[in-house]
Symmetry: C2
Subunit: 341 residues, 2 copies
């Protein structure tokens, strides 16, 4: 009986092959600790259970395809496009083709991972800046190819990212060193990306920095939203409507910060005389807006992810399995000392 790929789980394959979940996972991801016989049996079962979309897809453990899949959640946002450009650069130089999958809604994301076992058309998959859920991880295992996580930590796959806690600390330390005490935070969450860690490390940095400075945290100064500029503008408007304005705003991203700047400008507040604003990213338009921010090397993260992919494909045992790209404060015109009185 052939089942549709939408229904095949790692558990199905483990049951059919008569092995444990862990063994099935190891066999499919080519990890150590599985005998060749078991590995072949598991792969053969996976092959039988999976939908075959093309003749190429039937060669499970066969030769290289010369292609790598890159899965992106929000292609048209600068951060993701810039990171994709870094991955593409390294793959292109190595003569490897890049298959692009944009998964910008939960539906697209579900669809991608459900069809994944049918996509045995690539030598590796790069997951760009979103954490995979346990279920998605199982689908990835079915592929039996290398995985690299770019733009976020991963316990399981080679990854490249920044230290979000350190980036947040750089932003907060700058505001505190200028003398600010009444500091608001506009936090960005990603409702479309299940699997994010429960503790947002950019938020953690805010609370740690305040605590270290002996300043009690005021929940009235914290707003949560999505990553976009309009969300930042709305959060800033809400902050201004709720009480006396803060003297400084720490935004989780430059786009959020740019939105906050628009609200402040429209309300007639001067930046930085009345309110300082800092973001994280160093988006190309941050420089055009004179926005103080914490720079992260996004292209560099993409390139590093590309190199990790090459290491996986060539099965280079010396290839890096983790890289944390440093961030740095970039002071521009939107931060200054707090107003007096």
């Amino acid at each position: 009986m052939l089942r549709s790929p939408d229904r095949v789980t790692l558990a199905d394959i483990a049951a059919r092959a008569g092995v444990s979940l862990a063994t099935a996972s190891r066999a499919l991801s080519d990890s150590y600790g599985v005998s060749p016989g078991t590995r072949d049996r598991v792969r053969s079962v996976a092959d039988q259970l999976s939908f075959v979309v093309s003749p190429e897809a039937s060669r499970l453990a066969g030769g290289r395809t010369g292609r790598v899949a890159v899965v992106v959640p929000h292609l048209s946002r600068w951060f993701f496009a810039e990171m994709l450009a870094g991955v593409e650069e390294v793959l292109r130089e190595a003569g490897i083709d890049l298959l692009l999958y944009n998964v910008d809604t939960l539906d697209h994301r579900r669809h991608f991972f459900e069809r994944l076992p049918a996509r045995r058309k690539v030598d590796a998959v790069v997951v760009l800046a979103f954490p995979v859920t346990e279920e998605e991880r199982q689908r990835l295992d079915l592929l039996g190819v290398g995985i690299v996580a770019a733009g976020g930590q991963s316990a399981r796959y080679p990854f490249v990212c920044i230290d979000d806690r350190a980036a947040g600390a750089q932003a907060m330390d700058h505001l505190l060193s200028l003398g600010h005490e009444r500091i608001a935070m506009i936090a960005a969450e990603t409702p479309l990306a299940p699997g994010w860690p429960a503790v947002n490390r950019r938020s953690l940095a805010y609370h740690e920095a305040l605590a270290a400075a002996g300043i009690p945290a005021d929940p009235a100064l914290v707003r949560d939203g999505d990553w976009g500029g309009e969300e930042g503008a709305a959060a800033m408007a809400d902050l201004l409507a709720s009480g006396p304005p803060p003297t400084a705003v720490y935004a989780h991203s430059d786009e959020v910060a740019l939105g906050a700047l628009r609200t402040l400008r429209r309300e007639g507040l001067r930046v930085p005389e009345d309110v300082s604003v800092i973001g994280i990213d160093d988006h190309p338009l941050a420089a055009l807006s004179d926005l103080t921010t914490v720079h992260q090397g996004v292209r560099e993260q993409g390139r590093t992810a590309g190199q990790m992919v090459l290491g996986l494909i060539s099965q280079d045992p010396t290839a890096a399995r983790a890289a944390v790209v440093p961030t740095r404060l970039v002071v521009r015109g939107t931060t200054g000392p707090p107003r007096r009185g």
Copy 2:
């Protein structure tokens, strides 16, 4: 004798097959007016002369690959990423994979087109927002697959674009209707993209609008640069240094306009009281900067290009061969009447 693909030209193939250049081109692009025998002979010669990178590449006129190549000049710029997202959306829904090639330097571009005949791994190619040169056109013909030009007019391939002259006219008419006469233009050229038409239609719109309003054009008010924000900022600084400031600035893109805004702000000039600024694009950050602009549906152009690709692949004779997506003025806070006196 097998020659390297770097050296194979359409002329080589025509000579070897004993046909004219035009016939060779038609045979490879599957146009009308070529007998099946001639077509097969030309394709067979092309096949022999071309470097074969993979077993798949040897099936020249064979089955579908289920893949489409998209060639992008500046992946990390919003305009290109947004258009790519539109193409990806349509291809994904059709179950077609997207191979991505970023050609952000002249070298990369040359390399891509030189290796093109070896890339017979796709059913079609989308050229995103750059015009192809005659030499590149010949390389594309060697592929023997459908081509779609997105983001620019093409005499030869199905295309989707905006009417740049109409977009420029919308911007200029807005400034003129507010009463501006001393209007500067910051034009954007693309030195990295050979093949652009000699007449920039956004510049043409400037001169036509001034002429129609009976205002003599002042060459001292025109600056030429690249598409980036820093270039816009530099051009604005140069304009201010060269004489009395204009009362309005027409920029060829939002990023150029945002750069101009920064310069004006830094020089202490108020927008729009002292100087009005308008761009073209409706970049997502334009709304955050309150920038008046001419909106173009970039995602829509990408989707339309994707649909043209599907039409080519399915050889649908009713598929659209040209689409011009309308633009519209979006008035925000950076334009107003000219200052008095």
